[in-house]
């Protein structure tokens, strides 16, 4: 009988310190995230600490808890997967250094993982992949369409040319004086607002799968600015609904077009903005009359976590890919 494969995943690319253990790339055994956003809210601040200091303080605790929850020990672990990029170099280095130290001390194979590959593989914790597949990655820092024809190979067919979807949400939230992170607040307001303002949709050149949200951002700014000058009061809910409708329509339609063009067998959604209810509803509606199955992960797998890194690392491990102890954090790591 083939032995089960247990991969330890470590993720520290941005705000979250996370460690997880995943079995055979498909089953979460433990998944611990020390949410720095939460801890910061407690102190009344709106700024998540990006500082590596916070990762340093939490990494060993999170690691211990991941083992404790899994009821496993080091003998059970086949390899260590860690996010090597992209992200903040200081934050990434904590994860990478931890992983290297553990790999050396415990004599385990080390596997560097691309953060976006992780977001994609979060979906494999729900269902097996069917190739070719199309992944829509929408998060604070990314808005990308990635085509996969086989495991571990990624072809980026579209990306944002300015703001990521999550950034657009946060910036509009900022203008509406909503707290950080703004995405969930916009989503909440949009649910009760009406799409009364016809904000622009950035389709870009015909056939392009790239995205652009800065024109929309400017349109929202102008709308708010002009209303202020005329001393009109704008309904926040309606602005949120109108803004969100523009973002969602472009994301949904481009994803649908790409799915058709590349005749994919599966569409998966990943990243923090995949938690947006409006986006989920619209995507589900768009794909409901097609034969293409749509996968949207539960909230805890949309945001940054280490189970997704372990899941992506499992494929690399099975494909024989290894990193050596010279593995370094790469803030601008390309997805291949």
């Amino acid at each position: 009988m083939k032995k089960d494969c247990f991969i330890l995943g470590i993720e520290t690319s941005c705000d979250e310190t996370a460690v997880a253990i995943v079995k055979n790339g498909r089953e979460i055994i433990s998944n611990v995230v020390a949410s720095q956003i939460e801890s910061h809210k407690r102190f009344g601040g709106v700024v998540p600490e990006i500082a590596s200091r916070h990762h340093v303080e939490q990494i060993t605790l999170v690691l211990e808890e991941a083992f404790e929850k899994a009821q496993l020990d080091w003998d059970d672990i086949d390899a260590i997967a860690v996010t090597e990029g992209p992200g903040l170099v200081g934050a990434l280095l904590i994860g990478v250094s931890t992983a290297k130290a553990l790999a050396f001390a415990k004599q385990k194979p080390l596997i560097g993982v691309h953060h976006i590959a992780g977001h994609i593989y979060a979906n494999r914790l729900l269902a097996e992949f069917q190739f070719p597949l199309l992944a829509l990655i929408v998060s604070g820092g990314h808005t990308e369409l990635v085509l996969m024809k086989e495991h571990g190979r990624y072809e980026r067919i579209g990306q944002t040319r300015d703001d990521a979807a999550g950034e657009a949400f946060d910036k509009v939230a900022r203008m509406l004086n909503l707290p950080y992170p703004g995405g969930p607040h916009i989503d909440r307001l949009a649910a009760v607002g009406e799409e009364t303002i016809d904000f622009p949709r950035a389709w870009l050149e015909k056939g392009s799968y790239d995205f652009s949200f800065s024109g929309l951002k400017s349109a929202v700014i102008n709308k708010i600015h002009n209303a202020k000058q005329r001393q009109e009061t704008l309904n926040k809910e309606d602005i949120a609904a109108s803004f969100q409708a523009s973002v969602i329509e472009v994301l949904t339609e481009k994803t649908y077009q790409a799915a058709e063009e590349f005749k994919v067998k599966q569409v998966i959604v990943a990243g923090g903005v995949a938690a947006n209810k409006g986006l989920r509803m619209e995507l589900e509606k768009r794909f409901s009359n097609t034969s293409i199955p749509l996968l949207t992960p539960p909230l805890e797998l949309c945001t940054d976590n280490a189970a997704m890194i372990a899941a992506a690392g499992t494929i690399s491990y099975q494909q024989g890919k290894r990193s050596d102890l010279a593995l370094n954090a790469n803030p601008a790591l390309p997805l291949k």
Binding site: S52, V89, G141, Q159, A332
Partner: protein, 154 residues
């Protein structure tokens, strides 16, 4: 201190000025960009990148705080420190400011304590007709010379 103002009517003009400025920059130069949301800070950075011969898409660094671009004549470090408001965290600024590339910092006043004394600050204001007014403020001989040269060439 040397100051200089220039009005631009659209994104293309903003990028052209940025590209021209890029050709005058050296390793270790730091430029701070101030202005409201949508005022053109990232657009300006796109122009700098173009001037440095960077082919990659320059997207907003708001979420990630720092984005690095290595594909040009000099490395370009693009920061947006808005999310660091009220924080006293040093996320390794010196390695960028005194490093081997050009650093652009959006919302730099949030990290005032970490900024070098000599730098070039560009403030973006909305003009009444929808254009933008770019105000250049140079501190230190090196940046004063750059702004002086730029103002003569525009």
């Amino acid at each position: 201190m040397v100051t200089f103002k220039k009005k631009t009517n659209n994104e293309t003009e903003t990028k052209e000025i940025a590209a021209r400025l890029a050709s005058m920059l050296n390793r270790g130069d730091v430029i701070t960009l101030e202005g409201d949301l949508g005022a053109g800070k990232t657009t300006f950075t796109k122009g700098i990148a173009k001037g440095l011969g960077i082919k990659e898409i320059i997207s907003s660094p708001t979420f990630t705080i720092i984005k690095e671009y290595m594909g040009g004549k000099l490395p370009l470090y693009h920061m947006d420190v808005y999310r660091l408001e009220g924080s006293d965290e040093d996320i390794g600024f010196d390695e960028y400011f005194y490093g081997d590339g050009i650093t652009i910092v959006e919302w730099a006043h949030f990290i005032e304590d970490y900024l070098p004394k000599q730098l070039l600050t560009i403030t973006f204001l909305y003009a009444k007709d929808g254009g933008r007014i770019l105000s250049f403020k140079a501190s230190g001989k090196h940046y004063e010379a750059i702004v002086d040269q730029l103002s003569r060439n525009l």
